[in-house]
Symmetry: C2
């Protein structure tokens, strides 16, 4: 086994992922847990990190590069923001060292859009973006990063020009569990209903103003015409993702390709949504992207 | 005191309202409680109704006319639906008698839109609509009835041509309590911020596709630029109502006037939203409308 060069950590609101990486960028070991910012804040960030470092046998001098909510005000050490228009390279330069630690631990900053008309923030996605596009991203790119809070980022010549957050994932949870639609999805199994999903995507994409009416139709449609709980879930999902695509693409100049940064089921859902509305995307795995971004940061900071 | 002629009841999902009414349509006594369908279903609808009839001293032979969720499948007696295109008069004709009762108790049906492309249902609002427009509603009307599930109804020559439900009120609750936006409104006092509200209405009305992005901006705006919890609440409210107006007015031919059926704070919010986007409305009190609709039903059924 080759020698470890550094440790990379993606520390989100509710999840923790750590990779032990060698000079060539190979992953030597990996850890994942639900000790995100919310859980880690209670017992202490240092203790959580150390337990995982011990588990992978990380040497005491091995440096650690971190991105995500560990750098939020409620996180471990506040890592601030780079403001838009933000050169991707400046994210690497403004990493904050965690004080009082034996090893060198750095947390990457987020990006803030301090536009009074469209205030927005990201933390963690800037690192995904780096990994997905690379530092030399010369061409213009529109990047869609789906999730609890989906980010749509417009990059021009290596600079984050502007971005917008859509609460799609969180709205899905709130609507499915805390409105009358909870009755429509109760007991849903894993069965997919790709036709119901696509129809819902198109309806919301074409008439986004009707979004909250289309959501109610999931209930009234089941009442009047029947349908399974799984199908209702797909319709809710399709409506919210169709709405997101309408908003994310609004005002954007037509592009030959959009970059989708996603994995697993989210990748499948968004890929299908883009296909449905006739827009081609280049798809990059979300985890691969964040790990690559962290490796770029480690290389820039420690020349590893 | 004049003699009672009948009892009118608006029995919703979570509220119960009863009026003792004389021949001239005057209210002799009134009861209101939170024994809506959800609560009443447990102890029994008959017992809840009887307790309120006793409280107002209703004579044993006095008939009772009911609208709302008491006529739902999960209600007291299922009162079915009149299908669109639905003449308002047919709502009065299809009242269902509650069996096994000493007195004459009737429940009005709802209205169903069995259009596969836009399935929708209402129950209770058809009676409000009757009261707001009258049976002889010859002119075309677009009626907005705000609430947990806002209804937008297009009436043409006394016939409900089509309608759409927007989950505005319920989305406001789910978003304010069950997403990251709960952090922005925590501890909000009753202070109003009409400027924040109006700006949010306009933003969502003009760019409805950005709805879920505008919602997130309530969080990021507070993070980057500050602002009170009360102001955040007004922005969430304005965003969702602006989205509803965009959807409710989409595809409608321009009209000289829209009828708004609402009371209290909802009336104020919607009136202000319509003013903000430059649309004039005729405003009718929601409670007055439903009571008038129930009286029209009583007159049609019992000639009282």
């Amino acid at each position: 086994m080759s020698e470890a060069a550094y440790v990379a950590v993606d520390w989100g609101t509710s999840s923790f992922r750590l990779w032990l990486i060698d000079r060539a960028g190979n992953v030597l070991a990996e850890r994942r847990s639900d000790e995100g910012m919310m859980a880690a804040g209670k017992g202490g960030f240092a203790a959580v990190l150390q337990s995982h470092l011990d588990a992978v046998g990380a040497a005491p001098a091995l440096p650690v590069i971190i991105c995500g909510m560990a750098g939020a005000r409620q996180g471990w050490v506040e890592a601030g923001y780079v403001d838009t228009p933000a050169p991707l390279a400046s994210v690497l330069k403004q990493a904050v060292a965690v004080p009082g630690q034996d090893r060198d631990i750095r947390i990457l900053p987020g990006i803030a859009q301090r536009d009074r008309g469209a205030p927005d923030v990201m933390r963690g996605e800037e690192t995904q973006l780096l990994g997905a596009l690379g530092l030399e991203a010369a061409a213009d790119a529109l990047v869609c990063m789906p999730g609890t809070h989906s980010k749509w980022v417009s990059v021009q010549g290596g600079i984050v020009a502007r971005f917008a957050t859509f609460m799609t994932g969180e709205l899905f949870g709130a609507v499915s569990h805390h409105t009358i639609l909870s009755l429509t999805v109760a007991g849903a199994d894993a069965a997919e209903d790709i036709d119901a999903y696509k129809s819902a995507v198109i309806a919301a994409f074409e008439r986004p103003a009707l979004a909250s009416n289309l959501l109610f139709q999931v209930r009234s449609g089941q009442l009047l015409q029947g349908g399974t709980p799984a199908s209702a879930r797909e319709k809710i999902s399709g409506t919210l993702i169709g709405l997101e695509l309408a908003g994310g693409l609004a005002g954007e100049v037509p592009r030959t390709s959009i970059t989708l940064v996603a994995s697993g089921r989210l990748q499948m859902l968004y890929q299908s949504a883009f296909d449905t509305v006739g827009i081609s995307v280049r798809s990059i795995g979300a985890e691969e992207a964040v790990r690559r971004g962290l490796s770029m940061a480690a290389a820039a900071i420690w020349s590893v």
